[in-house]
């Protein structure tokens, strides 16, 4: 190789990148060319100067804006979750009304079921009014809250399946599921009310 190395070859040499075409010949040339050795040194120096440029800091604090956006999003999600809960309750109610017509003798069990559902809804509303998404909790409590919410979500899935179409579960099974839900909701309300404090987020 008689001509000097191109910048792509110099950069490849700097980065020890042997995949660049013609690197074997480039290395031969480089070993005996003072000009190219100087160019590589200048490239190293330029890179070092780039890395030594002063760190630029933001003039404004963007976190309040980030916090406001998180709050808005959490409220939106909370409303979405409440809608899903209401939809499940409405579906269950429709199923009960339909069964009243077909099986009037089951009225006692269905009254119990309705009572459990109402209790669950009351707790749901209490939690919503507490604005749990705006309160800060410690790490341990957060784990408990997440576990309870997961169990409630699993129960909601079971409840949705228990009232769907022809594969509807016996009313006794539904009562059991709703009772479990009320128990979990009670626990969640207790944790939220006693273990959280409002920090405005």
């Amino acid at each position: 190789m008689s001509t000097h190395l191109e910048m792509a070859q110099l950069v490849a040499l700097r980065d020890d990148d042997r995949s660049e075409p013609g690197m074997a010949a480039a290395l031969d040339h480089f070993g005996s060319c003072i000009h190219c050795q100087s160019e590589l040194e200048r490239l190293h120096q330029r890179t070092a100067r780039l890395r030594a440029l002063p760190s630029l800091a933001p003039a404004t604090d963007e976190f309040p804006a980030v916090r406001a956006r998180i709050t808005v999003e959490r409220k939106r999600r909370s409303r979405g979750a409440a809608s899903i809960g209401l939809a499940i309750a409405a579906t269950a109610l429709f199923a009960i009304i339909t069964r009243d017509i077909v099986h009037p003798k089951r009225l006692d069990a269905e009254q119990v079921l309705q009572s459990e559902m109402s209790q669950s809804q009351r707790l749901e509303q209490a939690l919503h009014q507490w604005h749990s998404d705006q309160r800060v909790i410690d790490g341990h409590t957060a784990v408990v809250v997440i576990q309870l919410e997961r169990k409630i979500a699993q129960l909601d899935a079971q409840l949705a399946a228990s009232v769907s179409g022809e594969s509807a579960a016996p009313i006794e099974s539904q009562i059991k599921l709703w009772r479990e839900r009320v128990g979990l909701m009670n626990a969640l309300v207790e944790v939220q009310v006693t273990k959280t404090s409002n920090v405005g987020l």
Binding site: E6, M7, A8, L10, V11, A12, E20, H35, S38, E39, R42, L43, R46, T47, R49, L50, R51, L53, S55, L56, A57, P58, A59, T60, E62, F63, A65, V66, R67, R69, I70, E73, V136, I137, D138, G139, A142, V143, I146, V199, L201
Partner: protein, 178 residues
């Protein structure tokens, strides 16, 4: 920057993953300057850099549950920031002014008095070239990673880097030294 800049990093990250606002703010305080610096070095304006800073930490707060801890927290936040910065470049579609710069740049052998400083020269690079130089030479991204983030080929990233260094070499007056 590493976890050393965030005291008790593991505990802060664990709490942030659970949505603890105090922990999320601690992450912002620890990493807002490097995120802003990366954004400002890639984009042309402070306004863009501030927007990217906000977008990055909004995304961090939303997605930190997805951070699995298999790399450094700074590496993860930086990948969010660089992605947002490159998205901003694409969205803004800044005028690519390389050719214009060639015309106004000092000619070969011109007086050293016309030399630019490094920051001015970087600012004069095209957006794409400047982003590649910064991400590769300063942040340490590989060409494969840059190509992936830009939706381009590895060859594209390599050629942008070489081309940018040729221009920087000229604009910094280093040709006169050769």
């Amino acid at each position: 920057m590493d976890a050393m800049s965030l005291p008790d990093a593991d505990a802060v990250i664990a709490r942030a993953r659970l949505g603890d606002p105090v922990a999320l703010e601690a992450l912002y305080r620890a990493y807002s300057t490097p995120v802003y610096n990366l954004s400002r070095r890639i984009c042309r304006t402070t306004e863009d850099a501030e927007d990217i800073l906000q977008e990055t930490f909004f995304e961090v707060c939303r997605s930190i549950r997805n951070y699995r801890g298999d790399g450094s927290i700074w590496g993860w936040i930086r990948s969010v920031a660089s992605s947002k910065a490159l998205m901003r470049l694409r969205r803004n579609k800044y005028r690519d002014t390389d050719e214009l710069h060639d015309e106004i740049a000092p000619a070969r052998g011109a007086s050293n008095a016309l030399r630019m400083d490094l920051e001015t020269a970087m600012a004069r690079l095209s957006d794409t070239a400047r982003a590649v130089v910064w991400l590769h030479d300063v942040e340490g991204y590989t060409h494969e990673e840059i190509a992936g983030q830009m939706g381009k080929t590895v060859s594209f990233s390599k050629s942008q880097l070489a081309r940018a260094h040729s221009r920087l070499r000229t604009w910094l007056g280093e040709e006169a030294l050769a």
